[in-house]
Symmetry: C2
Subunit: 315 residues, 2 copies
């Protein structure tokens, strides 16, 4: 089951005395916006939708507050506190028996357990299921931009850094997060997709080979655009300024959306991404030139050794 | 010859005591950004580029002012006054003899003369050239978002509204502006491309037939997203609210960039565009569903007659 708790939301809006509500949903839930808006309208609120692309609470549609008392952001835990923003989780249940596919792959009897926000509400139950099968699952408390226990984001793998634990089980969809965890921690990582029930040992070596190839290409570039996001939770200005100071051919470029068209029109030979770390890792195939991470640019500039390769995180 | 006057710009920046400069260029000039930035850096300024798509001074990169004392916007006359913004024209010369192609098409001896901003500096000379050929060219003074004499924008055809003149000569590239002028004024319009030297009588009937077809499609839509721009000079909030009140199935959707992907993900059956008027007219072929103008939505809602069709302008 997956759901947005409309009754809770209406209660919270009444408590805040809100009349005009702006709704923001991530791309995968966007089409539920009109229905939710209809429910809120029926409850007496005036509602507008934020239509801009959104992939996280790092990208709050604060401009929509020009027409609203409150911004309701669906699907993510808060990255920053804002008095006019309500972050409302979108919970996706899964069948605990899918863990049966992962258990035979575990080499340790004491592991770290992590997931993404939509499954965080089931993590304690998953740990109990594992305990029933003789495995102690350690779930690290939440903090910062991952406030839920055991939660990881594409920009923060803090919950996977657990002292004394050498193996991590990731429950969730896709390979981006578990590969990031493997690179960030250096530990053995098992990824379980609770819907397809596919489980496997994560191998980050292919990603690393691609990244090393990009770094070599980047060294040949005639100019570097240091991308600085204008999104509320992706703006790393001090980092961008430091990187721009590393090479005379580097220049800071502010961007809202890092799109292939925008990069093509700007005409730089290589971009260094200080916005959402996933952009460089996930979207390279769409981009006309290398888009590398801050740590990769440090390698290009001779400020970091290949052996000290590190995955980009926003701490 | 076409150019950005760097010496003038540096003088103005010194007068303002600026140290940190943000540069914004429209898409067609974007690749000149790095070179101009290099010139400013050599003159001692710290420079960043705004990388977001930009098609007019209605879309100022004000967020870049978080890292700069001044925003230099290249290529457009100002749409709004802002103490930290310098609008710097980008002048494109053309050969006055290209007017020879248009003169035989003129039916009147007294005409209105209009152009887009990059050619506005040559309009007086063009009028003199026409006078030498026995034609009186009337150039209306600038005002509002078209401050240059005789200037039209894709959202404002004020300079073409000249009492007692029944024929308009447009000098510039593309057919969007002259078709808009024809619809806005109802007058005979000759369009001259000064580079290809093609001249012709403008016919808006094909555009109108396409628009009437879209209006019919729009009547069948199950929901209407009323697009409200978050760009500084494209935000028509009162208009959006009035349009949203015309139909229960309508809802305001805020958007920075009106992109095909954004419209597809939102899932409305039809959109009403209150952002840049050109979006509905120029980009329909890229969009998954009808994107109509405010006036067209009034026809859909029975608030306006077909015979009162009007082109969308921001006055």
């Amino acid at each position: 089951m997956s759901s947005i708790n409309t009754a809770d939301l209406i209660g919270e809006l009444h408590r805040r005395g809100a009349h005009r509500v702006a709704l923001q949903l991530p791309e995968g839930l966007k089409r539920q916006g009109a229905g939710l808006a209809g429910d809120l309208k029926a409850a007496g609120f005036s509602v507008i939708l934020s239509g801009d692309p959104c992939y996280g609470a790092c990208d709050l549609a604060l401009s929509a507050l020009a027409e609203a008392d409150v911004l309701v952001h669906i699907g993510h835990t808060p990255v920053e506190d804002h008095p006019q923003v309500i972050c409302l989780p979108f919970e996706q249940d899964f069948d605990l028996s899918s863990l049966d596919q992962a258990i035979p792959l575990l080499q340790e009897r004491r592991i770290g357990l992590i997931t993404t926000v939509q499954h965080a509400h089931l993590l304690a139950a998953a740990a109990q299921y594992l305990a029933d099968h003789g495995i102690e699952a350690v779930i690290r408390d939440g903090a910062g931009r991952t406030p839920a226990a055991g939660q990881v984001l594409g920009c923060t793998y803090r919950a996977a850094r657990i002292d004394g634990v050498n193996e991590i089980l990731f429950i969730g969809t896709g390979l981006f997060h578990p590969i990031g965890v493997q690179l960030a921690t250096g530990k053995r990582v098992i990824a379980l997709d609770p819907f397809t029930r596919n489980a496997g040992v994560v191998d980050s070596s292919r990603l690393l080979r691609r990244r090393f190839g990009l770094i070599e290409q980047a060294k040949e570039a005639e100019s570097y655009g240091i991308l600085l996001s204008t999104k509320s939770g992706q703006r790393r200005a001090a980092l961008a300024e430091r990187l721009a100071s590393l090479d005379d051919r580097a220049m800071i470029v502010t961007l809202q959306e890092v799109s292939p068209d925008a990069l093509l029109n700007l005409g730089f030979g290589c971009y260094v991404n200080t916005a959402c770390p996933r952009i460089a890792y996930d979207d390279q195939v769409r981009f006309p030139v290398p888009v590398i991470t801050p740590e990769e640019f440090e390698i290009v500039c001779g400020q970091r050794n290949w052996d000290d390769y590190a995955v980009d995180e926003i701490r």
